[in-house]
Amino acid sequence: MTSGPASKLLAGPPLPADPVLLDVDGLDVRFGRGRREVHAVRGISLRVRRGECLAIVGESGSGKTATARALVGLAGPGARVTAARLDLDGQDLRRLGERQWRRTRGRRIGFVFQDALVSLDPLRRVGDEVAEPLLVHRRVTPRAAPGRVRELLAEVGVPDPDLRARQHPHQLSGGLRQRALIASAMAADPDLLIADEPTTALDVTIQAQVLDLLHAMRHRGMALLLISHDLAVVARLADRIAVMRDGEIVESGPTAEVLGAARHAYTRSLIAAVPARTPPPPRPPATGTPILTCAALVKGYAAPGGERIDAVQDVGLALRPGETLGVVGESGAGKSTLARLILGLAEPDAGEVRFAGRPWSGLPEPARRPRRRDLGVIHQDPLSSFDPRFTVERVIGEALGAIGTPARRRRPATVDLLEQVGLGAEHLGCRPLRLSGGQRQRVAIARALATRPRVLLCDEPVSALDVSVQARVLDLLTELRDRLGLAMLFITHDLAVVRQVCDRVLVMKDGRVVESGPVGTVFEAPAQPYTKALLAAIPRW
């Protein structure tokens, strides 16, 4: 395993001589009591030196956030935290009273929470939020606060800090919000910065910027505890990596060592899940008449201000049997709107969708209904695409019913479908809420296949999933495609995913197609600066 050039550039110099700043031993976090007890963190040990960056990685629910919150004494109501040792710079955090904790938080440990988009009080100005630690810890006088806030915002690379400080969080993009949060966490100059999933909510391009920013922070001598479920993300930053699973640290060590020679099987599965490291060999281009064509589609929405947003502008595409077409673009590019137009859930303002050689858009719903069985769809968020009261059996049974399968034949057909996606009859009686994310997505796929469609439209089918689960679902999809000869339209914001499954790709920005072509061509020789930026932002090592 080789380290990519980016990680060489970014990884800080190891400073073994630095004293230990954070020393944790036997940290245990439990929630609830009795039968409902959740043992979230099980006796883990951590050590962070001054100026060092330690990354904790692990899948969702492995206890990363619980660990981080325990470190600032905010594990939450109902949490019971114990530790054999919990020292910050020689001071025993376990013994702190509420007042001393207050002096520690913000001042000695800065904290950037998961959920950057909602971690700023939406009702207060950004400047006030950033200034809060300054004022609480009396770092500056109230008069001097605005000036300091501006400096801080400028430091984290917020353009036009004066304006931004006066705005409210909702007026800032996700990246700016995350920067403001980091500025706020750093405001009182803490020794340790804990960043819990600082990039999950962000577009790839912005994600790269934030990681760069955190890297720059480290050069000010601040220690960094970085938490993520994405190995590729932390690979660029961390000196050392600790891999968590089910509340325990299964493996830890210097970054290169863990990535290069993972000892634990779980670590290896995480590494394997990182997509696009080895693009599959290109498949022969599909021929034949397109089954789905869109011509010069336009769709606008009335925005609150009274103006119109052109969500989709002049988009054309053609999809042939057996082909997979990727549609990429950052949030708001118009991908979902395009999907809705194709599905006939919205009517285009101009342009036309043709399906199986016949008109599709502009028809009355009853005319489309009998043909819908040929167009399957997998939604971004499988859970909300299931009636919360339906069992798996009813969910799939409804689809079977829609193509006229008689009631008595539905159950065997359902089991059949479940088996195709790697589930079994034991899942029939489950309600979707009780299934894991991967299982839900499989049920969604099974439902889409129930009508034996010729075209499968996938709107962000994996973005809600964990990396490891994501990889399994993608494998399943490509396998099905190859087996059933489906044409797939694959919508995502994740270029790495596209690289793995698509034949051709369409890059969208602000409702327009900016670039399109075979995957290989677009990835190796992007013509547009926007595509280049997207590609550069793909985390890899």
Binding site: V377, F386, L433
Partner: protein
């Protein structure tokens, strides 16, 4: 939930069951008549024979409170059921009738919401006259617009939900979608809304009775009993206090248990 809370909850349900039982079969709790005057024993304070004392006509207040449960729960429960039934039809009509129908219904609801519930109820009584059934109708109309709005909003949410879209994409027919997905998912939150609504409606009904618009005498309706008994508060506090407590107890019970239901069944998609 702690053991104490579980115990309290069990006790609450038990009390409600007792109350319901009293409403349908008051005879199980008392064999004293509720309406038969016995002037020789007027205004007796509470004692072993008359647990809640007697009123100015010598009627046993305990027996009257027990017999009154039926009226209050009939008005409270009946009004809620009626309001929810009406609100469901109206709410679904608005959510599925499309633009003009929706606008008309929403406009109508806005209008009704603009009139305080009591005023609406009073208007109904103005037209229909006093009486148990009319109070029920009045209270139901008073709470209908609120319910209808919730139902319409919920129906809209459900209608726009991804699972309804998913069903459409599968080619499921409109009627089937409405019946299979929309109606059940719209009505689910009503369980909670309904229970807490019973409390409000009991109070509203009692208020109308207090204003002299309730069931006809000598029906032992709690609001009327408080209303009549309050003049005697000096001499015979028990005549008004016990029915007053009965109202409070009922309202507290249904409210608490409604919230309990909310915790148990509310927001299943959460």
């Amino acid at each position: 939930m702690s053991a104490a809370a579980r115990l309290g909850r069990g006790f609450g349900w038990l009390l409600l069951a007792v109350l319901l039982l009293a409403a349908v079969a008051p005879g199980l709790f008392t064999d004293l008549p509720a309406t038969e005057p016995d002037l020789s024993s007027a205004l007796r304070p509470p004692d072993a024979a008359h647990w809640f004392g007697t009123d100015e006509l010598g009627r046993d207040v305990y027996s009257r409170v027990v017999h009154g449960a039926g009226y209050s729960l009939l008005v409270g429960g009946g009004a809620v059921l009626l309001a929810i039934a009406g609100a469901t039809v109206i709410g679904l009509l608005a959510a599925f009738g499309g633009g003009p129908v929706d606008r008309a219904v929403v406009g109508g609801l806005d209008l009704l919401l603009a009139l305080p519930g009591l005023l609406l109820s009073l208007l109904v009584i103005t037209v229909t006259g006093a009486g148990t059934v009319n109070v029920l109708l009045a209270v139901a109309l008073g709470s209908l617009p609120g319910f209808a709005r919730v139902i319409r909003a919920q129906a809209l949410v459900v209608r726009r939900s991804e699972y309804v879209e998913a069903a459409r994409c599968l080619g499921v027919r409109r009627g089937a979608i409405l019946w299979r997905h929309v109606v059940p998912n719209t009505l689910a939150p009503l369980l909670v809304l309904g229970t807490t609504g019973v409390g409000t409606c009991v109070v509203a009904g009692a208020a109308l009775s207090f204003l002299g618009l309730g069931p006809q005498a000598p029906a032992p309706e709690w609001g009327t009993m408080v209303s009549d008994g309050r003049h005697l508060l000096d001499q015979a506090w028990w005549v008004a206090v016990f029915p007053g407590l009965a109202i409070s107890l009922t309202v507290i019970l249904v409210t608490v248990l409604g919230r309990d239901l909310e915790r148990t069944f509310g927001a299943p998609a959460g």
